[in-house]
Symmetry: D2
Subunit: 379 residues, 4 copies
């Protein structure tokens, strides 16, 4: 017997859509202890909020996020607004005893994230940060292969997140569509937006990063603000590269940019172990590349595993072998895991605390780039 | 203002799931003239039907498909049962004035399909056969590129549909899960199940096929029946290859099998024109390969187009560039197109009549294989 | 102690170059019982013949091939002229007791090839037909994997040879550069030139073909003759598709065309067995794709084997792992194998007799296409 | 009329073979002003030297490299010995007025390389360092595309060189086969051996590197010496990662390791420009990936250019479109260019002076890794 679980969604932008879709689909495919009910959508513009409610089947809409917090019937608060609003909303939600799903990165800085962690832990509420790529089946499979010890000792972890959508200097900063270019809203550029994903996956796969050394660049120095129309200095990092050392002795190399012509959202990682290696990329997210040195030498090669069979992570819930799922499904898996764990009183990774560690690495990378030297990280 | 449209779904198997998902998702992503309402699910087993209704949000369930037909409130009948039931249900639905979406192939033979076409045309009801792969964005894009004349005169059309799930002689025939191996239920083997998709796409892309010459094989000659437990002769074709001539002078080469180890659902096609060529496959359905001879020679090569940008067919409705959709979305597009056209009183391709043409080609292929000579096709 | 072996090369065209290069390189990389000496080059035009001799280090040149036959010092006659000259030269060479390497196809027809076989067998001379692709390491590896039984029972053999160089109707027929389009010189079009390769490999890999059914097309019906300047009907097949049955019960599907825009020399094959499958293509000839169903299911996928390690066929003789060889090396391997076998008095496959079988399949395919029905093949 | 050019080869190891092959093949395929004559091979072991001379057709062999220098008939000295011998031999050769081709890296350090540059410049002799990958046709094509301005402003240059042959701690250091692991012979590990290639290509493509920041690691801390049998500390870098800034404002990210399981010799680079991007890798060296943002958006994608047509760099000299060449051909091109330029009194890039710049970057990377901070480079 599934219990209804009332969802209050804050934010009707791109992430509001991915999360709403996830709540709707999860119970069609997974056997869940809760049945999500889309109770309230909250967004700044009433007309937009109403249209979103109609489209997605929310029972109501509000324009002030505090009303979501104050609504006793709401069980889960889902935060899909720009980064600068995460802390205030999340802390209020925690204090109100709500479960919380928060979009990534947790906050603009570790300093801002720290009280969020304290708030959810003090309140004892279920909490999750939406590093959704962990739950792409191929990425989850990679974790499984590592945990089974198939790779042996790890030597290298390599990850990139390459985009090309801000090459034109005519792209503005700020506003609804381009707040990610506005340092006040986003906190940082590719580091918080994209490398945070890479770091989250990397530390999940390969353990803590102990020290980093990075370089950043801002190619377009000033952009018009989308709301004010004023040309203003750009405060974010357009590109960031860093190398690092993991606690387990392996080396990391990470790079992100929004100036890699030809790549829309090319998140890639590769892990080299003593016995085997793994590679993956988001542009073909349904495949995992795997090389096993223990194969007979004459038939040894990189395997392209089409992660669609029923024994693959999450895939038993979807279609039949050979038929791929896509980007949106990572959010469905996230909701399903969150609800299953919440019903058992168990945490769902990455928690706020785990996301704080990612934030600390991001902060260290930016500090390192500024100082031109290594930074060690204290968790 | 969208009108509700009541859906009566017949069949709760794999296709019942893909279609139910499509009705639920379509209005979240597309601006539709109708809002589909999941009214009734019909399936043989009451317990299963009830569970399906609960999971997908159907308002009711029945175990006799005639009740769906007789229900005046039902607007659309969606037929997702084995092929041997298509004709009877579709004709009854047409006579009751229902819109009809029918799974492919239209029927087991052209002779069985013919009265279905007559019924829907006589009744003047909206009708569609679910050759869903047409509406994978990359496949729709291929059609667009051909229609724009980018390929020039077409010389070759090549398509395969390769699977490997029936290699073991322990796989039974008949029953819920394996009715596709039972000639009484399916009508034929890979020809009707898989090549029908290839033929539908091919004639959409490249016009009518005028004559065919084929070969079939049944590798496993007898299998246990899933329901009776008796070992019985296998009546279906396990593999079928044919070549053909199109009305436009181009040559076709088609092959399907369920004995191609390593391929789960590898539908591939390639089209070679005077100026350009196109290739696609279902295992990476979000990509289209394109070669244009008019490119500068030193940078000329096959392009791998990641069909995710907003200006690609259907993709403006989904996520952002670089983020792929999957198999299930082809059904969402199908529902969206069907509803939009229905509201305008326009047919949605492939109609029953178009699917009859595909059936005729399938029949001719099988007849040719039996006779060991060419068969011409009369539409 | 290696003995010198005097080579008389007949033909200084494209194949004359590939063979000359092979004789020069073989002893640098292989430990051979003979040291090839480039004795005489024979070609129609004296100036060209002399230039070729200078470039490649031939000791002499002649313009009449009979002088090569009559030269007692010549040990090996290598025939690299258009197909219509193969029979006369080969028979004369055999009668003169020369070893013979002959370019493929053996002749224009099986009828023409038959006395060639008889001549070499009567004379007891070493003989080889240059189906060089067998000795691309990845193709040789495929043979090894099949022979080891890794694939299990074979169900399907699929091969294509796709080119695009004759799409323009301005390409002439006949003459030095385009004799392959002249039916008098070539015997047939893509069937003898390209499918012959596919058939040779297929029967080597998978045993005899018992029956075929084919279709051919000539897209450009007339072309100017390169020598006479006259527009004449085109007598060759521009495209040919056939399916077939092998003696071992497997099915074949073959296609070749020179109208596949975007493919220069795309010879591909794929073999599907009960337990494993293999795929290869000439555009990345240093790789073999391999799928093994017996792999653990969660890491099962097509492997891309980079055939460059020292334990791969022939590769121990070349560079180091990861460093690829190319097209020309298949000819070096052919020469090396031929010389090694000749020293031991052993035949080198494919012999004239084996190439005759390939010729018979080609003839049957063309006859089948003409008659519109199956043809069985008697070897 | 070609003049003979006497070659004195010093070193009969792997590189001695690649260079010898190049001298032999170059005149068969290129129209050269000189005809290379393999005059003398020099190597430490007489028996080996003699065998090498026999195999490759050297007229004589010696075991003391000074005899090559002293031989007045020698025109070109080709240095294919471990790095620690480069300086002494090259300086002596220059002083003797010989043309010099020297294997890469030029020396173990910039300090060691400096007098080599001075020597060749003072002597005015033709000189070249064998960074052969520049002359893989696809890499040369990349240079051409950049120089034509197709990429526009460059933002990123990314290169890796990944191997896996030293993962086992049982691999020794020192000796003939593994001198690359001995810091005394090699000077450094992956930095001088592999990254030097990446840096050479990068500065050729993208101009000078102004500052670097790197990290190195030695995973296996001690290895047995191949000659002494003693276990000794390992002095080389097993892995090296660095990022950098180019003079043109673009950012670089470079990584090399011999611990990347699954990669034999995977040299890769990618260049992202405002309008277009390029990518290449050594495991498929005959292809260049190219993305052009100016393509029509619906057919825009990464192009896989099969660099085999006659209008591609160097390819007009080889076979026909579609037929690939391999690793060894880069050395043939190098010899051909060197001889053509030498005849005209023109330098061939990369000269000793250019290779010194690469050496300075290598030194700076290692110094940076040691110091844990950026190093600027003065050329």
């Amino acid at each position: 017997m599934t219990k209804p679980l009332n969802v209050g969604m804050i934010g009707y932008g791109f992430m509001g859509r991915t999360h709403s879709n996830a709540y709707r689909k999860a119970p069609n495919f997974f056997d869940l202890p809760y049945k999500p009910v889309l109770k309230t959508i909250c967004g700044l513009e009433e007309k937009e909020a109403k249209a979103f409610a109609d489209r997605w089947g929310y029972e109501s809409y509000v324009t002030d996020w505090r009303k979501v917090i104050d609504d006793k019937s709401i069980d889960v608060v889902d935060i899909c607004v720009p980064n600068n609003y995460h802390a205030e909303i999340a802390i209020a939600a925690a204090e109100a005893g709500k479960m919380i799903i928060c979009e990534k990165p947790l906050a603009r800085t570790a300093a801002e994230a720290e009280p969020m962690v304290q708030a959810v832990e003090k309140a004892g509420v279920a909490n999750l940060v939406s590093f959704n790529y962990r739950r792409v089946p191929a990425v989850t499979l990679a974790k499984k292969l590592i945990d089974e010890g198939r790779l042996g000792k790890i030597f290298h972890y390599r990850a990139n997140f390459l985009q090309d959508w801000t090459i034109s200097s005519q792209v503005p900063q700020g506003g609804m569509a381009t707040w990610r270019l506005d340092v006040k809203a986003a906190g940082s550029g590719v580091t918080g937006d994209l490398l945070a994903h890479c770091i989250d996956t990397a530390m999940w796969h390969n353990g803590p990063i102990s020290a980093v050394c990075g370089m950043t660049e801002t190619f377009v120095k000033q952009r018009m603000h989308a709301e004010t129309g004023k040309v203003e200095p750009v405060g974010i990092d357009d590109a960031c590269t860093f190398f690092c050392r993991f606690d387990n002795g392996s080396l990391g190399n990470f790079e992100s940019t929004r100036y890699a012509r030809g790549h829309k959202a090319l998140y890639t990682f590769e892990i080299n172990g003593e016995n085997a290696s793994i590679a993956w990329d988001l542009h073909d997210l349904h495949r995992l590349s795997y090389f096993d040195h223990r194969d007979d030498s004459i038939v040894r090669g990189w395997r392209s595993v089409h992660v669609t069979d029923g024994d693959m992570p999450y895939m038993g819930k979807w279609w039949v072998p050979g038929l791929q799922i896509g980007y949106e499904h990572s959010f469905v898996h996230q909701v399903a895991d969150f609800l299953e764990n919440a019903a058992k009183g168990q945490p769902t990774s990455p928690t706020f605390r785990e996301a704080l560690a990612t934030q600390k690495v991001c902060d260290a990378v930016l500090a390192s780039a500024k100082a031109g030297k290594w930074e060690t990280i204290k968790y």
